[in-house]
């Protein structure tokens, strides 16, 4: 018996449940069936570029971009601290850092809903200090906050794993050769950690662009992000052609992002979550 044939049922399963569905997305997005059979159409794709929808896409990319930048700015120092040997109990800190990721992401988003409310804990506290209240729930700011909160660990972990493997003799060499700590960082540490930064950017940007839950629960309006638009097409409007086109554009944008980032991450050292 050929042992490799054991993988056959699985591969058939994956073709049916991942490849065929993807072909269907292409089919509904790019083809139309009429009385004279099936024909190619760009009608759905064109609709994606109508100003109102284009605005949604641009806003999705923009909010995801801001969230990614904030995650990078907040996350890089955190990754450096976790990777350095200065703090005691470093291993426990790393575990504690990963732990919130195992809380259901609905929970993490819902938690902010209750905190940001008009008479939520944050505003109660601000009122107590006689400070002006914060009314950002149902705005873009709350969406960005939700994204940063949900995806920050995805930025920190890949950077941390690269920094931890960094050869410390390189840093000593830089110091011996007279580099200031800032110069060592710019010339040695940061360039060597780029693969981790690239993975982190992908892992934050991807879920941030595609989310529809964070924008629905923390953002206002119905057409917040491209994810909401796609959800709407499939679950409310029933316009599969347009929904599929939007998904194709979304996948295309993600492929471009991954393409750019994997150029940086040449040796795939960034380390996956698994």
């Amino acid at each position: 018996m050929k042992r490799k044939l054991l993988a056959a049922p699985y591969l058939v399963w994956m073709v049916i449940f991942t490849i065929v569905p993807l072909i269907l997305v292409f089919y509904f997005g790019l083809f139309e069936s009429g009385p004279d059979g099936i024909y190619f159409t760009t009608e759905h794709i064109k609709r994606v570029f109508e100003p109102i929808y284009l605005k949604v896409i641009v806003r999705s990319l923009w909010l995801a971009f801001i969230s990614t930048v904030v995650c990078l700015i907040l996350g890089y120092p955190m990754a450096m601290i976790l990777a350095s040997k200065v703090l005691k109990m470093r291993d426990i800190l790393v575990v504690l850092f990963v732990l919130p990721m195992w809380m259901n992401f609905l929970a993490r988003t819902y938690a902010w809903m209750t905190l940001l409310e008009n008479n939520g804990l944050i505003n109660q506290f601000l009122t107590f200090l006689h400070l002006p209240t914060l009314n950002i729930l149902y705005t873009d700011k709350a969406v960005v906050l939700g994204m940063v909160y949900n995806f920050l660990p995805f930025m920190v972990l890949p950077i941390y794993s690269v920094l931890r493997k960094l050869d410390s003799s390189l840093l000593e060499a830089a110091q011996d050769l007279g580099a200031t700590p800032i110069k060592t960082f710019i010339k040695v540490i940061f360039p060597l950690s780029l693969s981790g930064v690239a993975s982190g950017i992908i892992m934050v940007f991807m879920p941030a662009v595609t989310t529809f839950v964070i924008s629905r629960l923390l953002g206002g309006g119905q057409y917040m992000l491209i994810g909401n638009l796609i959800e709407q097409q499939f679950l409310t409007t029933g316009d599969w052609g347009f929904g599929s086109s939007l998904s194709l554009i979304l996948m295309f944008l993600l492929l471009i992002t991954m393409g750019i980032m994997s150029k940086t991450d040449k040796d795939q050292e960034g380390g996956r979550l698994w």
Binding site: Y10, P21, W102, L115
Partner: protein
């Protein structure tokens, strides 16, 4: 000074990460519906939770789907991992890439594409379709847990079993399976956790009154804030934590054993 700065920064980041979750949990025990003030300890939201028939049905489907999907994925995935382990060259690379595919593709795309498939083949969206979707995203977790164990394995033991007169089936059952079982169990538990926690894919692939806990929480949260959600999320978190601590404990034990064997 530098250490002090690092400590304060770490404290701030951890405060940012944990304060919302802890607040959420604490307020599941709050007497009043208010989220701003503490009005005394109560378990009434938990009691209401257990009386809620909608949540009861969601819990039933969540656990049923998680059990069936993770068992099915574990069996199919383990067999597949053995097959993939014995493949070579391009077919092997392709099989591995196909396995990465669901892990890398965005949830929403996986959800809507599966939904299209089910509607296209005229399958009514409901329990069965949600189950098929869960098996699909669970399979990679099982395969990537079992494959490393197979790599560590000494292939000669299998041949030795055959030389000693075992049939291939017996050789697998008595020689290979016991050695890769830690990977299989880890894969099963991961799959089970993923299944319990899933929202997006389930959201698109279910219908006709079948919903899981995550979908129920989402529809409740959309309508506004409700302390019952806090109670439910607290229980889910504790449950998932318990499974993960168990998985980690197993992995650590496993690692310890390996190190001891190496010495």
């Amino acid at each position: 000074m530098k250490t002090f700065l690092m400590k304060s920064y770490t404290f701030l980041v951890f405060f940012f990460l944990y304060a919302p979750i802890i607040t959420l949990m604490v307020f599941s025990f709050n007497e009043s519906k208010s989220r701003g003030t503490w009005d005394g300890f109560t378990l009434k939201w938990y009691a209401e939770l257990f009386r809620d028939s909608q949540i009861g049905s969601a819990l039933y489907y969540t656990i049923l789907v998680a059990i069936i999907a993770s068992i099915f994925a574990t069996v199919l995935g383990t067999i597949a991992a053995i097959g993939i382990h014995n493949m070579r060259g391009i077919p092997k690379t392709m099989a591995i890439n196909v396995t990465y595919f669901p892990m890398l593709s965005p949830d929403i795309v996986m959800g809507i594409s599966l939904m299209l498939l089910f509607i296209f083949v005229k399958l009514n969206l409901g329990f069965l379709t949600m189950l098929l979707a869960h098996i699909t995203f669970n399979l990679p977790f099982v395969i990537f847990s079992v494959l490393p164990k197979l790599r560590q394995l000494n292939d000669d033991t299998y041949d030795a079993a055959l030389d000693l007169g075992a049939t291939p089936y017996e050789a697998y059952k008595k020689v290979i399976l016991p050695q890769i079982s830690p990977g299989i169990i880890t894969g099963f538990l991961l799959a089970f956790t993923m299944s319990i926690d899933d929202f997006v894919v389930s959201f698109f692939t279910t219908g006709s009154g079948v919903s899981n806990l995550a979908i129920t929480i989402y529809s409740m949260a959309r309508r506004g804030i409700n302390p019952k959600i806090n109670a439910l999320l607290t229980l889910m978190f504790i449950f998932i934590m318990a499974i993960l601590i168990f998985v980690n404990y197993r992995m650590a034990k496993d690692k310890g054993k390996e190190e001891r064997e190496m010495n």
